[in-house]
């Protein structure tokens, strides 16, 4: 939450960060983290639920599928031109177009989803978004009881601990 007071510690090593995070969470503190790469142990330590991106992407794909059906079948019926003695609605060829549209719209919604989701994440976790966290450091932010958080971070081997904001 923006403007929330807390302590930020930076680590060089994902393992250490993970241990610190576990300690902080054991102490009942809410923890956010920022890192240059999705280190599995750290993500695991944070123990947050999985992203629900699929809830957006899947309907997107389905929309693409419907669009495909509408486009192929609809336009063929709108002006019935016989080619090669084949039926006006020739399913097999249409399936190809429908598939392509499913993939296209699906991945585009997926893109929108990840961009929006990412922006919201950045906003909600503005506190932890430290510059070096995209580079070579891992930032761990703990909200609530600053003193305890700072102590635990130092014990966890944080290279640097500072209050934010």
């Amino acid at each position: 939450m923006p403007g929330e007071r807390g302590v930020l510690g930076t680590f060089g090593d994902p393992g250490a960060a993970a241990r610190a995070v576990r300690a902080l969470r054991a102490a009942g503190l809410r923890v956010d983290a920022a890192m240059p790469a999705p280190f599995p142990e750290l993500v695991e330590a944070l123990g947050k639920h999985r992203s629900r991106l699929g809830l957006v992407t899947f309907p997107g794909a389905v929309t693409g599928l419907c669009l495909g059906v509408l486009l192929t079948v609809g336009t063929s019926l709108a002006w019935r031109l016989v080619t090669g003695g084949k039926p006006i609605v020739s399913v097999p060829p249409f399936v190809i177009v429908i598939f392509e549209l499913t993939v296209l719209v699906g991945s585009l919604t997926n893109l929108v989803a990840v961009v929006v989701g990412g922006a919201r994440g950045a906003k909600r976790q503005a506190a932890v978004a430290a510059a070096e966290a995209v580079g070579d450091r891992i930032a761990v932010f703990a909200a609530g009881d600053p003193a305890a958080a700072a102590r635990l971070l130092r014990e966890g081997g944080a290279e640097e601990v500072r209050d934010v904001p």
């Binding site: 031109l81 016989v82 080619t83 090669g84 003695g85 084949k86 039926p87």
Partner: protein, 968 residues
Amino acid sequence: MRDPSERRVGRRTFFRITGAAGAAGVAAGCSPQAATERLVPWIVPPEDVVPGQPLYYRTACRECSAGCGVTARTREGRATKLEGNPEDPIGRGALCARGQAAIQGLYHPERFRGPLRRGPGGALAPLSWDEAEDALAQSVAAAGAKGPGRVRLLTRLEPGATGAVQRAFMKAAGARPRDRVVLEPFDPAPLRIAARALLGADGLPVFDLAEARSIVAFGADFLETWRSPVEGARQLAAGRGRLGEDRTRVTWVGPRLSLTGVSADRWVRCRSGGEGAVALGLLRVLLDPARSVAVAAEVAPLSPRVARLDPRDLADRAGVPWEEIERLALELGRRRPSALLGPGAQSQGAGAVQLAAVATILDVALGNVGRTVFHGRDQREDVPSSADEVGALLAAAAAGEVDVLLVHHADPVGTLPASFHAREALAKVPLVVSFALRPDPTTALGHLVLPDNHALESFDDVAVRAGVVNLVQPVMTPLADTRQAAQVLAEVGTRLPTPAAFPSTDPFDLLLARAADHARAALGTAPADLATVHRDALQRGGHWSAPPPSRPPRLDAHAAEPFLALPAPAGGMPSELDLVVFPTALRGDGRGADLPWLREVPDTLSSVSWSPWLEVSPATAKRLGVATGELVAVSTPAGRAEVPAYVFPGIRDDAVGLPIGPEALALLPAESAPTFRWSGVRATVARTGGRTRLPVLEGSPYQHGRELVPVVSAAAPSPHRPDLSAKMYPEPTHPQHRWAMAIDLDRCTGCQACMVACHAENNVPVMGAQAATEGRYMGWIRVERYLGEAPGADLDVRLLPMLCQQCTNAPCEPVCPVYATYHTPEGLNAQIYNRCVGTRYCSNNCPYKVRTFNWRDAQFERPLDMQLNPDVTVRSRGVMEKCTFCIQRIRHGENEARDEGRPVRDGEIVPACAQTCPAQAIVFGDAKDPDSRVSRLARDGRAFRALEETNAQPAITYLAGVRQRGET
């Protein structure tokens, strides 16, 4: 030249016939220039002109001496297409390739725009008609004053008003009859001589091949150029239509398989010049008492003389086994009546007169005279001069004995063998006057050029034969400031010291003056009101009547004796080859062979266009070490020529074939004989090492075991067809019509009239030689020619006219991304040019490869663009195009029917190709109507479809050709 009174004597006559022949109205108000240039609309439009509606005129073809009737279609005052005149007894509505191309002579970009005189600088400069005619009158008067022979006239065959005017003019000019020389190099003069000598008959015999059960053609290409090819093709088709023993059987005798030979059932491969020996051999067998073949009594006296001929000698002279001659003779004895045709250009050598004589005797012996061969029916108006007379004229010219030489549609420099030295001779003449339409080698030597009107701008009549006079009338106002030659001669003639007496100088009156005789001949009596009769004749196209009965001529046995000697053996070095010079359906005798369509359309047999070629048999090619496209040097005593070789199994190993043209003319000798000599010349042939990309259309001439063009025989009456009963989808339905076509391969002679008709009707562009070498011929219909199964296999030529098959399951349609081609409710495979983006997938997927692509923008050089059919789009570059079954004609027919509130009649709608087919091999109609001709033909036992196994369901049904090879 802008003075209207100056320009339009012809126009007044137009008004006159406007009154007379109602149809002609259009020509009055709108000359083509007006049609294209006038911006102000008519206030009172001429009532005959319905914009968008075609107007038809009847006239006659002047491209060769056959004189077929013509129906000219005009639109907004300009002729757009020539078709046959269905009422005309010669063509019966058909017109050959050359006849249709005549319209390109009308619109030829190089046509003279007005009279020209060669100035001191040697360049031709325009002058007025008055000046020109005065100049001519003075020179003729001056020359005539010096005595006879100073004024000469060299003309093409003019059996009509023009000829009459010429004779009257020459008389007035003080010339002798023989000072008017008729140049018709390909006239079968030997036949005249023989008929005269043996039967005392004048003129050439007229043939009715429909009745003949056997036809033997001694080098007479009666389906291409000989006598009346359109008529020949129709009559043969009729005879071929009879089934069983009565079916006409054709034998081709000659060293080279001509297109006519392709239609024959048997090819007697005699050596060049051996035709006479073959004919004698036939006579020898037929008159052999041991054979006891019934022959006409008047021939009987000849049998002892003939019996003296040794079969072995004859076989040796002929170059074919005696048994073959024997078999043919016995067949002729059994199958009557028959017709023996010859000689043609390809057999017109030293022995031509003997060949003609023996053929005539055979006709008498077999009782053909009066059944298939008729004497005394030839036209009497005009007779071609002999080679001697032509030679004499040129000699006189060379000797400086000619002051004025009038050249009327004859091109001695360009169409006579170079060894006649016409160029040098004409150079000696002080005044050469040419009436040519456009520059040719002779006009290059002309001092005064008085361009004649094109036949489509003229009044004239053509006496084709007894009882047939076809009338020539203008179908549009002259394009340029030209004047009809007859009129010029008449006008000049009246200014001579001893004026010629002409009824008028107006071509229309000159024609009308003759109408009385024609009418009398036709009706038997003098007509009450000539004007009406004449008008009807003009609208109909001619004066026609049953030929007058002529008593059958009797054979003079004594006169026959000298023709029965054993022909001389083949002379010359063994290293030399016989040179066979042959005309083709497109080139004719060489005149007008430069018309774009005739050059663009590939020759059926060689598939070569835009170039001469030397036919060399595979064995000879191997010996000379040449392949198709390599240049070979051909030399004779008369000259030398370099021609690309074309390896062709249809020619003897001891001969080479060369189509008529400058190259051939350079090689031929000038014989001091009564007849021109086209064959029997020995030539040395050697490879030069050079090579060209010969423009051939063919890829592989072999069927490679694919059974593409099946044939049927008594043994196997139907071609094998695959079982296509299994269906994947319901067939598309055709609510009203399903247009379809049937092509009878037994009738098709490969004459290519259909190809030219398609060019004319559908604005198919001429792309030129370069495009031809690149295989980019744009024609919508082509004649595929297969020589046999595989290289080296025995020669079995089969023709397959290939055009869009308008398939029900057209493979070209589903692959088009933009619906540029689709299946119409009337069953047509439509091609919408302005939708096409040019992916060319349709052509890749077309099993028949009948789609042509516009690789570049087509050029229609002015005024050739005036011929374009306004009902058909001119396609732009980058789009695909193909045969449409002449959709514009289909729509026209449907609209006519709708206006009259009736269904479309079967046979009412006819595509251009079907319309002009001399053999009526192409039938078009509605496949939904079970009684239509096309449906009935589709059920015929001979029916098959091209590449049927692809299941494209074509709308075109082919009827397999019938083979009776070997059967006797």
